[in-house]
Symmetry: C2
Subunit: 423 residues, 2 copies
């Protein structure tokens, strides 16, 4: 038995991507739109986005990949497999950034996919299924609403014509800007099979760093409900108005804000409750606030739990109405369902982390990603790596080279297991 | 006994001011700086203030009064008494307004004093002590800081040179503006004896209206402590940050804001606690607030109670610091002591309300008035009348003619009792 050749899985165990090359590519792409504080500003469909896309495609062609672009500007770069009838195993994310974005958010997922292909080329390995890299258009939503536009159109969740007509603050449309930068492709979005989808991403939260772990095996994304709450009391002089005759909108508001957080604590471990935005009127030191408006953001990992949290906040509002006698409006702003990822993809990522000896944990993504939409079409999984202090959407966003390498190694192994190595 | 002439006090019982004339003067003065919504914008030391002052002085001269102006622009109009050695009994307030002020705040106290004089003239009554009307400069503090500037300089609480050097947003000084409008008098502020001071004013709060009463017998003004509170946590993504790893500045802030109100409720009946101004950073729907700044306004009717409330809020902050681990700064902004009024003045006002058959109650002024400073120099009392919905510092500020008349009748009786009628 000791004389027999190592089986394919043992061969794969020893495979590694080239971490230095991946890091160099991340740093080179980050120079396009680099900001003085070390971040990146490369908004969707700007000249800088065009430069970033062209560099990516240049790298893809140098790696021997075939390139297609669809009508919403999503880029697919393909490495053929042995069996052309199999749908491709896709690694992807986005290369547009926030106005004060970092070098890793999105870019990491795309360039980790490129590094998988480059490594397969180095090793002369052929896969059974084709391997593809996807770069989705306008994930951030900073310039054009909605967020996750390219993957949303691809999944049929956002109508193409609606997306093409979206305008930025200058009135320019997505359609015109795609044509202007040369990325209005002719492929119909979604008319492109996907066998499975893997997205590597910085965590954008503090959990992995806090626990000293390298890999997050993502089980899915939290569902989200957004509300605006408006409380109307009576503006009055802080001095002459006794406590019992006040209609203090802020006092009622702060009670509800406390409950937003309490509701999240009552639904652990994935419940989240956040008040991020507050406006007080007239906002003057010696005037009792007559009106307060604030946002409510509730999240959890199943729609049932989210429904319970929504019922809880409605009960809190109803009680505040009867206790205070004030007018309280609670308006839903938007809602996204929880999106679980595919059990096999999750297991493949977890197995890869274990095989490679990286500390890891199962976890939930609190933020939305393109993987939320691909999960509607194909088995999907996500790989998280730690980011410094959990910070993203900020020029000081940072990640360690060893974590960047580890995540791409896990991506390589998960994709190979999914695609199969042609023996 | 029935044949003997009625004693002076009985004569006084039947005296009334002319309510229609007082109302007409209020409405005429309110035309200077009238706003489209029925309010008045007549900021201190503007051309409109000059017009208002000149109309007041014209009315005073028509009523036979002698006029003096001091170096901070305070106007005194004098009706001589029988005994020139007695200090004058003064009625006063201010005629400057807030930018969106009303017809009554301040103006009522000055014109009620004028109406007292006009009525004494009609009746041919001579008082023992002289009667004076005072119109204090810049009570509102809207254009020049500090508030209650004229009476503050008069009482020696605000240095004259400091007040004259105060600048508005255009860089113009009080001294230059006083000279420009012709009200830089030559009398040294404070070099003007006062026997007693009475100020009639709208309540600026809801108590009298709420209880259906006509006259407020004011016992004094609340002491005030102002603070700024700044809480620094850690700004983070609302989705990916679990509840137990958050440093949510707003969650800590709302707990303290609730306590500001609770502390006031623990010190009834005059305790007040108000958070009027709140700023949240970065104030974005899906970002956990990294910093929150807010104002705290604490009031009570004795300095000892106010000291207790101040200790309470400091304890709340200290507890919030140790519970949350966040940085919390509590900075004192300003502080005014409680100012009790003079027992005899209070009794004279109360006796007058009783004698005239007006429903009344003893109460505290939550807001500051010129009477706060005169009380440091001479026996002082204040008469409140209801204002609609307790609203002032607003163009919709309003009062009923019968209440305006009743307050001036009480002023007449209180002043006559204090000044004495020359037999």
């Amino acid at each position: 038995m000791t004389d027999s050749p190592a089986p394919a899985t043992h061969l794969a165990d020893n495979l590694r991507i080239n971490g230095a090359r991946l890091w160099d590519s991340l740093m080179e792409l980050a120079r396009i739109g680099a900001t003085p504080k070390g971040g990146v500003c490369r908004l969707a469909l700007t000249d800088l986005d065009k430069q970033g896309r062209e560099l990516l495609i240049q790298w893809g062609r140098e790696a021997g990949l075939g390139v297609t672009v669809d009508r919403i500007g999503n880029i697919f770069m393909r490495r053929e497999g042995r069996n052309p009838s199999l749908p491709p195993i896709v690694a992807g994310s986005h290369i547009d950034t926030q106005p004060t974005g970092g070098k890793f958010d999105g870019n990491y997922g795309v360039l980790a996919g490129l590094e998988v292909v480059r490594s397969l080329n180095d090793l002369g390995l052929q896969t059974e299924a084709p391997i593809e890299i996807a770069a989705w258009t306008n994930e951030e939503g900073s310039r054009f609403v909605p967020v996750m536009m390219g993957s949303g159109v691809f999944a049929g969740a956002v109508p193409l014509e609606h997306a093409l007509a979206a305008r930025d603050l200058d009135g320019k449309t997505v359609g015109d800007e795609l044509a202007r930068i040369g990325f209005a492709g002719d492929q119909t979005p979604g008319d492109h099979p996907i066998g499975a989808y893997f997205e590597a991403h910085i965590e954008q939260g503090p959990v992995l760093e806090d626990e000293g772990l390298t890999i997050g095996v993502v089980l899915g994304t939290l569902g989200v409900r957004w509300y605006d709450c408006t409380i109307t009391g009576m503006e009055a002089h802080a001095g002459p108005t006794p406590m019992n005759l006040r209609k203090d909108a802020l006092q009622v508001a702060t009670g509800i804000m406390q409950q937003v957080v309490a509701i999240a604590h009552r639904h652990p471990p994935h419940g989240r409750g956040t008040v991020g935005m507050v406006q007080v009127f007239p906002n003057s030191r010696n005037v009792i606030p007559g009106q307060v408006k604030f946002s409510i953001d509730l999240r959890n990992h199943t729609d049932a739990l989210l429904e319970t949290m929504a019922a809880d906040i409605e009960a809190v509002i109803q009680r505040a109405r009867s206790d205070s006698g004030l007018t309280i409006a609670l308006e839903p702003v938007s809602s996204y369902p929880a999106q679980p990822f595919h059990a096999e993809c999750i297991e493949q990522i977890e197995a890869a982390a274990k095989r490679l000896g990286h500390s890891h944990r199962r976890m939930i993504s609190g933020a939305g990603h393109d993987a939320v939409y691909t999960a509607r079409l194909a088995p999907t999984g996500m790989i998280f790596i730690p980011c410094k202090d959990g910070i993203s959407h900020n020029e000081i966003e940072d990640a360690l080279p060893e974590h960047v390498t580890a995540g791409a190694d896990v991506l390589l192994h998960a994709m190979l297991q999914r695609a199969g190595i042609a023996s």
